[in-house]
Amino acid sequence: TRKKFTAAFEGINLHFRQVFATLFGGGIGEMRLSDPDNPGESGIDIVAQPPGKRLQSVALLSGGEKSLTVMALLMATFRYKPSPFCILDEVDSQLDESNTVRMRSLLKEMAPETQFIVITHSKTTMEVAETLYGVTMGEAGVSRLVSVRMSDPAAGAEEQDRERE
């Protein structure tokens, strides 16, 4: 319904502006209606202007800037309406070290509301996980799981045994 859409649009946008500014240290990130006179059917454009740069289409942003912009919008959506869980597959692969740190701080902030499953090669990102699932292929072509609870590494082996049941 149109009222619900407008509420969601403005609710998410409020958070998007804040999260974008946090991740980029300033700048403007928001959604805009492609056709403001027709909110009932209008599409949505994304505006993303990092601090100190002039406004251009999001397509011209760098790989890392695009990743951060999308993460800001996704987390803003969760702030408006949490999901039960969220899976992120290598979303940090294009980020430099300092932006990886910013992204993981953002995830930590959102973590009390949602189960995040973060697939990553980055040690920096792994550091904020309470649980690590190691996927191995000791036997060629066959995946196995090993789980380690980070807050209590000693429980790792116990975890493993229970997993196999």
């Binding site: 859409f5 509420a7 969601a8 649009f9 998410i12 959604m31 492609s34 209008s42 599409g43 949505i44 994304i46 999001v58 397509a59 695009k66 990743s67 999308v70 993460m71 919008l73 996704l74 959506t77 969760f78 309406k81 949490p82 999901s83 039960p84 869980f85 969220c86 899976i87 992120l88 597959d89 290598e90 979303v91 973590a111 509301e113 949602t114 189960q115 995040f116 499953i117 973060v118 697939i119 990553t120 990102t125 792994m126 904020v128 996980a129 309470e130 649980t131 690590l132 699932y133 996927v135 191995t136 292929m137 036997e139 072509g141 066959v142 995946s143 196995r144 799981l145 789980s147 229970r162």
Partner: protein, 183 residues
Amino acid sequence: LRLKQIDLCGFKSFCDRERLRFSGTGIAAVVGPNGCGKSNICDAVNWVLGEQSAKSLRGARMHDVIFNGSRNRAPAGLATVTLILHDSGLASGSAGEDNGMPRPVRLPASRAPGEIAVTRKLFSSGQSKYMLNGKVVRLRDVQDLFLGSGLGPNHYAIIEQGRIGRLLSARALDRRAFVEEAA
């Protein structure tokens, strides 16, 4: 509503049954070398939520998600993925935390109070099944369960490898659909 467990058996590189347990909140990292099966877990969740396009799961036909053998193993005859969620509202009988899930429509009785188990099976014969709490249902029932949660057909809560740019390169009307899903 909280995620509690993911079971995979015969799905892609998961020949034998493997299980991931979750507390329901917080950050769980999935790590390992290239090609060991991490993204296959992401595919498994998309699949059990009702993904219809084999191409979205990197396959040519849906049959491609069944473990197809390795050096020492024969192909599997069946792929099964089960997602277990917990609804504290159902368990206690009061209104549960509203994190975007509509009250489950005609949910079959579960083994444990508040538990919602979603299962999808694909046999190598091509026969396919969806189940909620052990009872066979239609794909539509599974999709209705997750409508509006970001885990439905427009699953913005899952970002696949290499697809983070999808929201930015999408058409303006597709982005509208994403906000409508959250509305």
